[in-house]
Symmetry: C2
Subunit: 458 residues, 2 copies
């Protein structure tokens, strides 16, 4: 009997019906949202508490069986694929909000809680968890990939919004990485080390998250610009002025064409900024008016803003439907999302180069960007019937990442490394990757935790 089979036998003996080897369950946990081939694990364990995870990790350690944590499978670089087989830990039974403190603006949750479920639970409290990566991902998964999204410009990423975690290490030790205090100088920042480690250093079994007060008022705004440069320059000035924009989204001309076709709207087919402001009634009005003036200085046209819920939804519908509008424009094509992040002063240059590259290769590639952070995505649409198109898309994505490095940026703003960007991580970090490998070796010497992701150690 191989080591994995032995581990599964021992797991079943200890954890009973929490272990599944059914084809349906395995297949479900072998899928991913991007172009990697499906890869089912040998078994799926459904832990119900930290102690179950400790049991699973210890048994797997004893049998040298790989372990891959799984949230809901929305990651975009193949993070949760069991490339060496073994056991997937699925957190669907650990999806409770454990407590919420209104005084401390803190929630303690299990890793399987999704961000929408948490916000549903918070609705009556006057608090919310602001990070919004688009997908309704689990909070464990979002922490593991250091996710962010449209609101990061105001509220930061998961790095900034996790106070503490309970983590099961590769040898079964359980640590708490922090406390409920808002800040600490107590030793190495284990919270920050685990956030973004993609399940390779430890398994997150509980999170203490920062919450924020629901703003008294929210304003939404939209404006067309004659060029990406003009939209970016407007954003730079807004950031310099310290305007606390809550969302600042660039949607390029091609995306706007898709949106018009999909939603039967007639926005000018030009780059647009979609904005959101959080604050007091007077505060969001002032922010909207300041942005309107800044936009006008840069040739912005048709600036509209509103604080009324229904009109806000209507205004932002274009941005929210962008992904579906793009998919509908090229039905049957596979979408692959790039994800680089550059210093904002280089954003126009980066986007222009990406646009030229995409057009030179004749692939559809609309662009949306979290422009306040210098982070943007090209959705590269390839025809699954022509495999060379996927290769073209991958090559474009690689050139974008390399260009981002040369501009002082990073190969991933929010999607992570997974198995898709390990060589790009080396290009970006150089010797830093050998330091990452030293840490991985120190904490998981047998390479059991999500092996084959971020860094290769054997």
């Amino acid at each position: 009997m191989g080591n994995i089979a032995a581990a599964i036998e021992a797991l079943s003996a200890q954890l009973g019906e929490k272990v599944s080897t059914s084809d349906t369950v395995r297949t479900h946990h072998g899928q991913n949202e991007t172009y990697f081939a499906a890869m089912p694990p040998d078994a799926v364990v459904f832990p119900e508490c930290t102690e179950d995870v400790v049991t699973a990790v210890k048994i797997c350690a004893q049998h040298t069986c790989p372990i891959v944590p799984w949230g809901v499978g929305t990651s975009l670089e193949g993070h949760a694929l069991p490339v060496r087989g073994g056991v997937t830990l699925s957190f669907e039974r650990m999806a409770r909000v454990l407590d919420v403190s209104q005084s401390d603006l803190v929630a303690r949750v299990e890793p399987g809680v999704t961000r929408e479920a948490l916000n549903e639970e918070l609705r009556a409290t006057g608090l919310f968890f602001p990070i919004d990566p688009g997908a309704n991902a689990t909070l464990g998964g979002m922490a593991a990939t250091r996710a962010s999204g449209t609101t990061a410009v105001r509220y930061g990423t998961l790095r900034d919004n996790v106070l503490a975690m309970t983590v099961v290490m590769a040898d079964g030790r359980v640590i708490k990485t922090g406390t409920r205090a808002k800040k600490s100088s107590a030793g190495y920042d284990l919270t920050a080390l685990i956030v973004g480690s993609e399940g390779t250093l430890g398994v997150i079994t509980e999170l203490t998250l920062k919450l924020h007060g629901q703003p008294e008022a929210i304003a939404a705004a939209v404006c067309a610009f004659p060029s990406v440069d003009a939209a970016v320059d407007t954003t730079i000035q807004a950031v310099q002025l310290g305007i606390p924009v809550a969302r600042m989204e660039l949607v390029d001309a091609l995306s706007m064409r898709c949106i018009n076709a999909y939603s039967n709207t007639n926005y000018p087919e030009e780059p647009h900024l979609f904005m959101e402001f959080h604050g007091s009634e007077a505060g969001v009005a002032e922010q909207s008016e300041t942005l309107e003036a800044l936009a006008a200085e840069h040739g912005g046209r048709g600036f509209q803003w509103t604080t009324r819920t229904e009109e806000r939804s209507k205004l932002w519908a274009a941005r929210h439907t962008a992904y579906w509008a793009i998919k509908a424009m090229w039905p049957g094509r596979h979408g692959m999302s790039t994800d680089v992040c550059v210093p904002i002063s280089k954003l126009s240059e980066a986007i222009a180069a990406a646009r030229a590259d995409v057009e030179a290769h004749n692939l559809p590639g609309p662009i949306v960007g979290h422009v306040g952070d210098g982070n943007y995505h090209v959705l590269l649409l390839s025809d699954p019937k022509d495999p060379s198109e996927l290769d073209t898309a991958k090559a474009i994505a690689r050139r974008m990442a390399e260009h981002a490095i040369s501009l002082g940026g990073t190969v991933t703003g929010e999607h992570g490394i997974g198995m898709g960007k390990m060589d790009l991580l080396k290009q970006e970090h150089g010797e830093g990757v050998s330091v990452m490998a030293s840490i991985k070796r120190a904490l998981d010497p047998d390479n059991l935790l999500n092996p084959g992701k971020i860094v290769q150690i054997n």
Copy 2:
């Protein structure tokens, strides 16, 4: 010849006059700001560039000679004391601001630049670096201890304001921990690992820092409260409402008595909040008025606020002179600052227990607090002629830290572990400390970098 002497000989041969063994220089670098005995290093190296640091680290590694980085010596837990002798790296010759980007709101600096020197350099740009720990510390030192201070409630700590660093590792490898991009999901967060590592994992030789736009308007405010509870409850409500307070400082009744005596003022001898608001003219007016209303609900009296520079300085003078006012009230006494941080809902309880403990032991112990973060300091004043008083002060500080742990807080909000709180770190982090030790062993197996701080590995 011992290993340290051999290292110094080799260093002198390679680095010439950048190495000093003079008594004056060694004595200066053996001092500290708190109760630890002076401890001069065997030699001091004054590197002028990263390559000098690499040379020094490699020579020290070859001779197993300890290396301790040094900024300006303002740390408060004996961080820079060479407890095993060896060589101190003093960064006074690496004190240049290398570049400032107004579009990206980023500055690249050498580690010996102090925060005041950086802000001086930034004055004409419309940008500033907001973190203010009180002392005019170096930015390298502030990063090493994860410093923060009065503005952390709005701008975060050094954890949140360092984008990237150049770091020389124990074996002489040079890494760059990040890029100029505002966010990244590229692998383990080496920036966050080095920030707060107190020179034990690597030597910082360059920092890329986030800057902020100088606010259009600044308002200062002050208000007296009938109790610490009332001041804390006002703060909690302000935070829940999402008011972006820039500073929120609690000064207790005893401190106010010292301030009145020192500055010839006549504030009520009651707990006070000193506040600062950053924003637009209308924004800071609105924030001030909202706080005034909240304070009134909690019995606040004499709320004053102003945006005029001179009046702001006058209003905040009390807070700014608190340390000197306290020292003047008990001349000749030695001040030892405690530094715990608790969830804000527990702050009143923590302060009340600390106050009772201090009074039961008959030591002067005024309290100031960064109340928006739940972080407070008791300045315990002991008579150097009666050594038992220092022991009493240490015991009180220990009980405060243990109480903070029991309240879900941390043993240090911003001063760090150094050599003063290593056992408390174990109480707070438990098994987490063994993970920290694994990391230290992996990155510095010979324990050369600031040995005897944070974690003991041999």
